[in-house]
């Protein structure tokens, strides 16, 4: 069985992140580029299953700029078998419709039984791409799973729903996404890093996948981008035994209590 993991390189959310105020695109110089933390949990889920079962292969799939190749190599070091990178200048600023079309196309090209993704990326915060891919591939979806169990023919897990927790089960092929309640990722060892250098990493263009980014379909477009004014520090006092009283005064004066 082949498991594909959707990999996303993002600006590091532990540091400053910026948008370019002219283009509205991510300012790639402003931040360190890292593997999205939730992606690393998806990779961990796939790799740990591959270690515990016979004949399971893990393929990493991403679309992104050239820098994503380094992120793919680092992620291969966690124990995946191959990587697949859609790289095309026409993908700059792609909306979710185009992103899902591209990812579904490359997944269908490489062939897979199960797709695992993070539930919501830390930069786009959309959380819709996995199910959009499932719809395009004619597969079931089981998203935002807090637990995950994989067999040769099914995938099961629990997810939050209105008023309680659901246990869901999908027949493969299926697309699942996982939450940060799944185990944290392993730290790749020296052996993994050396092995990753020799693993296959294939690059695709939109033409390779037969996708026309200028097709006349509805697209989401950005109309404006504004930087929010930065917050500044206000009053700061040291507690000298009466700070609770002073805070009560402050809140009362500002009519906040």
């Amino acid at each position: 069985m082949r498991i594909a993991v959707l990999v996303k390189e993002v600006p590091d959310s532990y540091g400053e992140r910026r948008l370019n105020l002219t283009t509205g695109l991510a300012d790639r110089q402003a931040s360190d580029k890292v593997l999205d933390e939730i992606t690393s949990r998806a990779v961990e889920a796939a790799v740990s299953h591959a270690e515990s079962a016979e004949g399971v292969e893990v393929a990493l799939v991403t679309m992104g700029p050239e820098s994503a190749e380094a992120t793919l190599r680092k992620t291969l070091a966690m124990g995946a078998d191959s990587a697949h990178h859609v790289l095309d200048p026409e993908l700059s600023g792609a909306d979710m419709t185009l992103s899902a079309e591209v990812l579904a196309a490359v997944l269908q090209r490489i062939g897979c039984d199960l797709v695992i993704s993070g539930d919501v990326s830390s930069d786009g915060t959309g959380g819709v791409i996995p199910t959009m891919i499932a719809e395009r591939m004619g597969a079931a979806h089981a998203t935002s799973l807090d637990t995950l169990a994989i067999t040769d023919s099914t995938v099961t897990g629990q997810r939050e729903s209105y008023g309680g927790t659901l246990t869901v089960e999908a027949q493969l092929p299926a697309v699942v996404s996982v939450t940060e309640r799944l185990p944290d990722a392993r730290f790749p060892g020296f052996k993994g890093i050396m092995a990753a250098k020799k693993k296959p990493l294939e690059t695709y263009t939109l033409a390779d996948l037969g996708i026309d980014p200028a097709a006349d379909v509805p697209r989401s477009i950005m109309l404006s981008v504004t930087e929010s004014p930065a917050r500044t520090a206000g009053e700061k006092i040291n507690d000298e035994g009466d700070a609770g009283k002073k805070l009560a005064e402050y809140l009362t004066e500002k009519k906040l209590v």
């Binding site: 540091g15 819709v128 959009m132 979806h141 659901l166 509805p218 950005m222 009283k245 500002k254």
Partner: protein, 325 residues
């Protein structure tokens, strides 16, 4: 020109009671045109939900009841929603930005060839159509988006819209469930959550009290609960407090948790990692209490107190009680 229809997914509890997000979804729909609701339930519980939807502003409600709602994931809702879509030709579709809402939006987007605006915090109309507002990178930037043409599908961030619709007596249409796609996951079990807390929902509460690692233990976290209850506030927690097991994951405020924008945010023993700030920095007033004078939370706090939360907070609660009596 006839009023444009805004088709709105209204999620319900298994009992048939509408989820809290219904009010803001119908409120946002009312800002754009005529709100039309869609309610999909298991048999026997939809009538009350449909009437409540009218009270929240739904002029028309499409209602379907079916056993499959309890056994098949997402697909029954997509099916009914598609029927309603064909009847009303909506200008926009609004769904909650929660797990079920996102799945519905994703399936509909591909099936109907429509663009999605995700994690939207507000909407308005200009001369060219509907504009969605986004809050990006932990509210550091604000952007606006639109679709080039066709119906816009919006996933609306919970707690972000204050506008409310006006009560009407809704026209109720019963819809039959069509044939379901075989590519759907099964629901094999449902376990109801323990009785919900009586505190206001974190997402929409005007005041939020959050506790961090500085509270030291699950027992220490009770201090945040006491202050929240004294103020009638929603309760939150930093990721560090959640990871340490002081508070459940559902309370996590920050990049990977809930984003809040209350009038007053009180941070107890929270250092203020960038990922936490991403979830609360649009609060109108921020108060921070922390014993570390160098804690980054003080850089964004309107009122910062360097001190021991276990001394300052009990005195605050006592003083406020005294004022109220």
């Amino acid at each position: 020109m006839a009023e444009q229809k805004i088709l709105t997914y209204l999620p319900v509890l298994p009992s048939g009671e509408l989820m809290g997000s219904a009010a803001e979804l119908l409120g946002a729909a009312a800002q754009l045109g005529t709100p039309v609701g869609v309610i999909v339930t298991t048999p026997g519980v939809s009538q009350a939900a449909a009437e409540s939807a009218g009270e929240l502003g739904a002029a028309t409600v499409y209602v379907a009841e079916h056993e499959a709602v309890g056994t098949t994931l997402t697909e029954p809702t997509v099916n009914v929603f598609t029927t309603a879509w064909e009847s009303v030709s909506p200008e926009a579709v609004l769904v909650p930005n929660d797990i079920d809402g996102r799945d519905l939006a994703a399936r509909l987007s591909v099936r109907t060839h429509s663009a999605i605006a995700a994690d939207v915090v507000g909407v308005h109309r200009d001369e060219e159509g509907i504009v969605a507002h986004h809050s990006v990178y932990g509210s550091t930037f604000t952007t606006e988006s639109a679709t080039t043409h066709g119906t816009l599908i919006v996933t609306l961030r919970e707690g972000a819209v204050d506008h409310r619709g006006q009560a009407v007596t809704p026209e109720i249409h019963r819809v039959e469930l069509g044939e379901l796609s075989p590519h759907a996951a099964s629901i094999t079990e449902f376990s109801a959550s323990a009785e919900a807390s009586t505190r206001p929902d974190l997402r929409g509460a005007p005041t939020v009290v959050s506790g961090g690692r500085g509270l030291g233990s699950a027992e220490g976290f009770a201090l945040a609960e006491q202050l929240a209850d004294a103020l009638g506030a929603g309760l939150g927690a930093s990721r560090a407090a959640v990871d340490a097991g002081y508070a459940p994951h559902s309370l996590q405020v920050g990049q990977t948790g809930v984003t809040v924008a209350p009038d007053l945010y009180i941070a107890l023993g929270i250092s203020g990692a960038v990922q936490h700030l991403a979830g609360m920095q649009t609060a109108k007033t921020v108060v921070a209490i922390n014993k570390d004078p160098e804690a980054p939370i003080f850089d964004i706090a309107d009122m910062g107190i360097v001190g021991d939360v276990f001394e300052v907070v009990p005195q605050l609660i006592e003083t406020l009680k005294g004022q109220n009596s």
